[in-house]
């Protein structure tokens, strides 16, 4: 299957976000892919405020089913969330469950003025009423496929498609 060039998608996404950026804009990336993208956006858009990073493991809705995701990374929100306009960044938008968890986590830091969502790829398949404000592109994929963002040692981003390994196998 043909997959779009992630670097091209990132520059498209950057241009879609750029008109809405002010000096008070803060970006929060979701580990792991969302943080890679957020770092690049932060640099390209020349944002003054520091970058936030979320690991939503403690807020996931499948903890009681599958336990803790291994290798949890500490969330780091190095600014006041209260009253802030936040752009949340993820690599692949799918069921919407990660975004639900991320919004819940952000609210435990304070009450933001607004949260918008940017994703490099929207692959459809939503299970919650979540819509992104900015997307690089939209791809329709079957449930048994997993779309993953990868980063090589030079920081170059690319997309890969995998067969999903069913739970419990």
């Amino acid at each position: 299957m043909y997959l779009p060039d992630a670097e091209k998608l990132l520059s498209d996404l950057t241009e879609k976000i750029r008109p809405d950026v002010t000096k008070d804009t803060v970006l929060v990336g979701i580990f792991t892919g969302g943080v890679w993208i957020a770092k690049r956006l932060h640099q390209t858009l020349g944002l003054a405020l520091p970058l936030g990073a979320l690991d939503v493991s403690f807020y996931r809705d499948d903890f009681s089913k599958i336990g803790l995701h291994h290798q949890v990374k500490p969330s780091n929100i190095p600014f006041e969330v209260e009253g802030r306009h936040i752009i949340l960044i993820d690599d692949v938008l799918y069921t919407g469950r990660t975004i639900r968890a991320a919004i819940n986590e952000l609210f435990d830091y304070g009450r933001p003025a607004s949260i918008r969502l940017a994703a490099l790829v929207d692959r459809g398949g939503r299970e919650l009423p979540v819509v992104a404000n900015y997307v690089g592109t939209t791809i329709d994929l079957l449930k048994d496929k997993m779309l993953a963002l990868e980063q090589n040692e030079n920081g170059k981003l690319s997309l890969s498609l995998y067969e999903k390994i069913p739970l419990g196998s």
Binding site: Y59, I66, F107, D108
Partner: protein, 316 residues
């Protein structure tokens, strides 16, 4: 498959009873997970929703304020419901057996038991007895083990010294009665600390302690030379003054940690103590409150480490 009663069929942690026999990846996973919990109390909402709807029972058959409180805080920061039972003053004094107490609480849909008992092996007994969906954490059993204390000590050491593989660690004081020391020794050797020393008078040392892979010293000046980390132990003076030691003053003279004795260790050595401290007996106030002391940080990290242990167990 393993015969370790702490692990399930998949080799994951089912109960946390002792650091003995736990593989390094499991210990490190607890420490790594705890890193993510350290920042939680700094948020507006000082808790995460991980264990919402879970019931955690603190079963304390032996009095303890600090350990019980830190477990309670840890459980509450995970959004669990916590029930504290001080059994020394309840049904056991009316003659109920340990397993009957556990059965009754299991019938109330407990998800996890935190157990403190004066008898070695009490937590193991409960772990063998409960249904597979219930998890047990040993919060100290007799002279045997106190795994969460040892893990929070390992977390503190890693925070200050980064790596275990080039350290010299000395455990000082009443090794004989100390479940903390046993759990520390197993954790330190599993995590690859090349030199673990115990410094103690002969009367406070178990026989054949060297089989645990430690170097034994009876002299503080020699034992503390070039040490990176000092793990002080509480002198359990209520248990033994007179029988094993002439006096608290004499103990302080030879084994109490003063600035002068501390100067034998490396200049950046850290000093730790599991609490509660006997100032002027095993540690001088000038050291306990001094700049090499990380004792209050241990308490803070203890909550994050207990949150990590509870989370990992509840997810397995």
């Amino acid at each position: 498959m393993s015969n370790n009663p702490q692990l399930n069929k998949g080799g994951e942690l089912q109960h946390l009873l002792t650091t003995e026999g736990l593989p390094a990846p499991i210990l490190l996973n607890i420490l790594d997970t705890a890193e993510s919990f350290v920042g939680v109390p700094e948020r507006d909402i000082k808790k995460v929703p991980l264990l919402r709807g879970k019931s955690i029972f603190n079963l304390f058959f032996e009095p303890s304020t600090r350990t019980r409180t830190t477990f309670e805080i840890a459980a509450k920061r995970l959004s669990a419901d916590v029930v504290n039972l001080n059994i020394a003053s309840s049904s056991q004094s009316k003659g109920e057996t340990l397993l009957d107490t556990v059965n009754n609480l299991s019938a109330m849909h407990a998800d996890m038991f935190i157990v403190r008992h004066s008898q070695s092996g009490a937590a193991h007994l409960i772990a063998r007895h409960v249904k597979p969906e219930i998890h047990v954490i040993n919060a100290g059993d007799g002279r045997h083990a106190h795994p969460t204390q040892a893990l929070l000590d390992m977390f503190t050491i890693r925070r200050y010294k980064r790596d275990f593989h080039n350290l010299c660690v000395a455990i000082v004081g009443d090794i004989l009665h100390s479940r903390v020391a046993r759990s520390q020794i197993h954790a330190l050797t599993t995590l690859g600390v090349p030199e673990v020393r115990v410094i103690s008078p002969k009367t406070l040392l178990p026989t054949k302690v060297d089989r645990l892979g430690v170097r034994v010293f009876h002299d503080m000046a020699k034992g503390l030379k070039d040490v990176d980390v000092l793990l002080m132990l509480r002198l359990q003076n209520e248990r033994m003054l007179g029988a094993r030691l002439p006096s608290a003053e004499e103990y302080f003279k030879y084994y109490g940690l003063t600035q002068e004795k501390l100067a034998r260790a490396k200049h950046d050595a850290i000093v730790m103590h599991p609490g509660p401290m006997n100032r002027g007996i095993e540690i001088d106030s000038a050291v306990a409150d001094g700049k090499q002391s990380v004792i209050s940080q241990q308490v803070t990290f203890g909550i994050a480490v207990r949150m990590a242990a509870m989370t990992i167990l509840a997810g397995n």
